[in-house]
Symmetry: C2
């Protein structure tokens, strides 16, 4: 809990995710240190962490920018996730304890609940969703895999586009998770991998559609 460095990370990150900046915006270390309320030293650490997670980029001359994600890059990101999380699910299938599978079921119940309401709780959904995937990744017992996925799974644009998701999409995600849990209970690695694969591939299309939607509405502004 080296506070300064971590607060810097948290504050800057939420500043980015909450949408106070737009892709292509330039930032300076000083500006960020104002936002974070700490000196530039820990800010630089936070920036390099965010850079690693692709939430920020630096030019060759080390100026800081908010990256903008094209559809190709989104596609690529989901392809890599599909491959790696598929692998994680495969490993998890033979490594999860019964208790952990029960945990997953509980977490997924929260997902179902979050979208059962008239007004779906999108933030709650995303939190539970992330927890679900993290639990699976953890169960794969592969630190390196975890580290890599952590940097891919960062969902910068997700929050921006979340409101575009249809309730039906969210419900389908929860059903995918149900099937994944079934695959885990059956201890069937191949089933688990396949389910995870199609889950993420659908998520990609939903996401890409939502992004296109948002972009065209932005352009109209």
């Amino acid at each position: 809990m080296s506070t300064a460095s971590d607060t810097a990370y948290e504050k800057i990150r939420s500043h980015l995710l909450v949408g106070k900046v737009r892709p292509g915006d330039r930032l300076t270390e000083e500006l960020l240190s104002d936002i974070a309320g700490v000196s530039r030293t820990p800010v630089r650490e936070a920036v390099s962490r965010l850079e690693r997670e692709l939430l920020l980029t630096r030019t060759e001359t080390n100026r800081i920018f908010v990256p903008d994600w094209g559809e190709d890059e989104i596609d690529e990101m989901f392809t890599l996730r599909q491959m790696l999380e598929g692998h994680a699910a495969e490993r998890a299938a033979t490594r999860l304890s019964e208790d952990q599978i029960d945990d997953l079921a509980r977490i997924n119940q929260e997902l179902h609940d979050a979208v059962a309401l008239d007004e779906p709780d999108v933030a709650g959904f995303l939190d539970a969703n992330r927890l679900f995937h993290e639990t699976v990744t953890q169960a794969a017992h592969s630190p390196r895999l975890g580290q890599i996925l952590a940097m891919l799974v960062e969902q910068p644009v997700v929050l921006h586009t979340a409101r575009e998701y249809s309730v039906e999409d969210l419900k389908q995600s929860a059903r995918d998770h149900d099937e994944l849990i079934a695959a885990f209970r059956a201890r069937d690695p191949h089933w688990a991998r396949a389910v995870m694969g199609s889950h993420l591939r659908r998520a990609f299309h939903v996401f890409a559609d939502a992004m296109r939607e948002q972009q065209s509405s932005c352009a109209a502004e």
Copy 2:
């Protein structure tokens, strides 16, 4: 070329790879700043970079250690590489230009040459080998993939164990590359992936055997 930070990285890295430390050794930032000849500020950046590449680790209380690689971790690393470099090869098959394929052939000729001698040029072999894989990765046109592989491909132990490799193993590697080039010329993504997969899987076994060999000789000392 932010000199101080980069020199720190280079110096510390070679200090590690050249084997001046042993797995489990503890290091301090001050010691490293002596080695690098710069102040602690750039050293800290270098350390976090090396940490990312898994050449160093920090405990929960942020003490710096030289990590110790078990066989499981090696296995896991090669599995991930197999998956990701297989993917890279698949993409490269439809993206490489004729010229680039010729380049690969030239690079691989160096590999053949390096092991054709009576006394094989292991360092030269490793350099050319890395260049070959980097070229393929580049051709996949996937920055994220490149970034991930860069952190997996770091070969801390490789240098230590390189002398254990048999000439026959090295020759087989070069032949694998020949076949990969054939797959590229045929523009066959599936063939490319398959070749890359078996190439890395064999490399894993060679590597693991060499490591076991080395460990038992260490224990005997």
